[in-house]
Symmetry: C2
Subunit: 217 residues, 2 copies
DNA sequence: TGGCATTATGGCAGTAAGTGACGCGCGACG
DNA sequence: CGTCGCGCGTCACTTACTGCCATAATGCCA
């Protein structure tokens, strides 16, 4: 029995994701360098070495090309929350994960992170990019619900879970936007060392303290 | 002395808003009846009795035509929070405002509300409408910051205010989406009577209890 | 290893969203 | 009563995006 059911010469899911990310990288870079309006689909296609037609097969709109890269910013927070063991407080876990993240960082991943934050910051002026960012956050928020539900020992569609997920997503988003702004405006990168604490406090605050503590037992 | 300073035959701001709302009404109705993709700019223009060119003068994209109407859903919550007197708890104030809102409702406003919720619900399937909804909420959230700042007696750009604004906005959004879903799926409208309490509890929870109580003194 | 099925891709023509330019009409003001 | 400012319509134009068909690439199975 195969868990991943793909027939014929179908592209593997991981490969598809890689390709989308690659397109996203080039598109985001162009958006950053010359603005969204000044960047055409043809340019993106040429930059990534594909035909324009193929770009539109992988992305519905030009702006959405930025989503995968931009999503990695919040994805980092998502990974933390997903891998959050019950017996740890959020502060402890986030701090540990941050160290691991920094240790595992490659030159490329650093560039990606920087570029993603740039796009987020650019969203202040470019509505098109703002929607891409909001959509990415929206996607994260939807994935957040089951994670929080499991944390609280509630069914995923419980009416108390969704507001918590929304608030947590908002906290994550606000935090990322804050980082993006500070980084872009000359950047006091020193303050970013307290990231885990800030993030944990924001989530804790956003969920009224319901999400944050270690779970006994 | 004229407070609204307009020279020549300039369109007043209120008139401009009215026109945008009118366009939004027709566009949203068409989106609802036949889907976004099946609705062309020409159709919207014809429905509202303007030229297509004028539609694009008032809205940058087709989907954004839905924003003004859809924004009224959250705007209701915004109005409540904006007019929230310090000496009342959120529950008390929201309950009073809801009564007023129901009393002042006209046939048209009821239709508008219904249509707006329909568009919100439709956003689950139509990404284009989802972005419109998210943008509307985003706008509300930005306006929320100063309101919350004033409530807490903090400067608007305080680092504690923005997460609260984001979380409150998310709570508002989640609540509206919940209402939209229930209303669309056959609708237990009975439960909506507790709207003020739910909304207040959501905001309270989203801000860690910092926003919700009456302010003494 | 080699055929087969399935899918990703490229090229091209077509649709429709969105823009710039120009002229008209209308209401405001002297 | 002229003329000024501005919203609106018309038309030509650019470009994001889609269908369609041919072809190359890939995984499965003998």
């Amino acid at each position: 029995m195969t868990t991943t059911r793909r027939r014929g010469g179908a592209m593997s899911e991981v490969r598809r994701r890689r390709l989308r990310l690659e397109i996203s990288r080039e598109a985001s870079r162009l958006f950053w360098e010359q603005g969204v309006d000044a960047t055409s689909g043809d340019q993106i296609a040429e930059a990534v070495g594909l035909s324009t037609r193929t770009i539109w097969r992988h992305f519905r709109t030009k702006e959405s090309c930025a989503e995968p890269l931009v999503a990695r910013g919040v994805e980092w927070g998502m990974l933390i929350l997903r891998a959050w063991p019950p017996h740890l407080s959020l502060e402890e876990h986030a701090a540990a994960e941050r160290i691991r993240h920094v240790e595992e960082a490659t030159a490329d991943s650093v560039i990606d992170d920087r570029l993603a934050l740039g796009i987020v910051a650019l969203g202040d002026r470019e509505p098109a990019l703002r929607t891409a960012w909001l959509m990415a956050c929206d996607k994260v928020e939807r994935e957040l619900a089951p994670v929080i539900a499991r944390r609280l020992g509630l069914p995923a569609d419980d009416h108390r879970v969704l507001p918590h997920a929304a608030a947590t997503g908002a906290a994550l988003r606000a935090y990322n936007e804050h980082v993006a702004r500070t980084l872009l405006s000359g950047g006091d990168t020193q303050g970013l060392l307290h990231a885990p604490a800030h993030l944990a406090r924001a989530v804790r605050g956003a969920t009224g303290g319901a999400v944050g503590d270690a779970i006994a037992g």
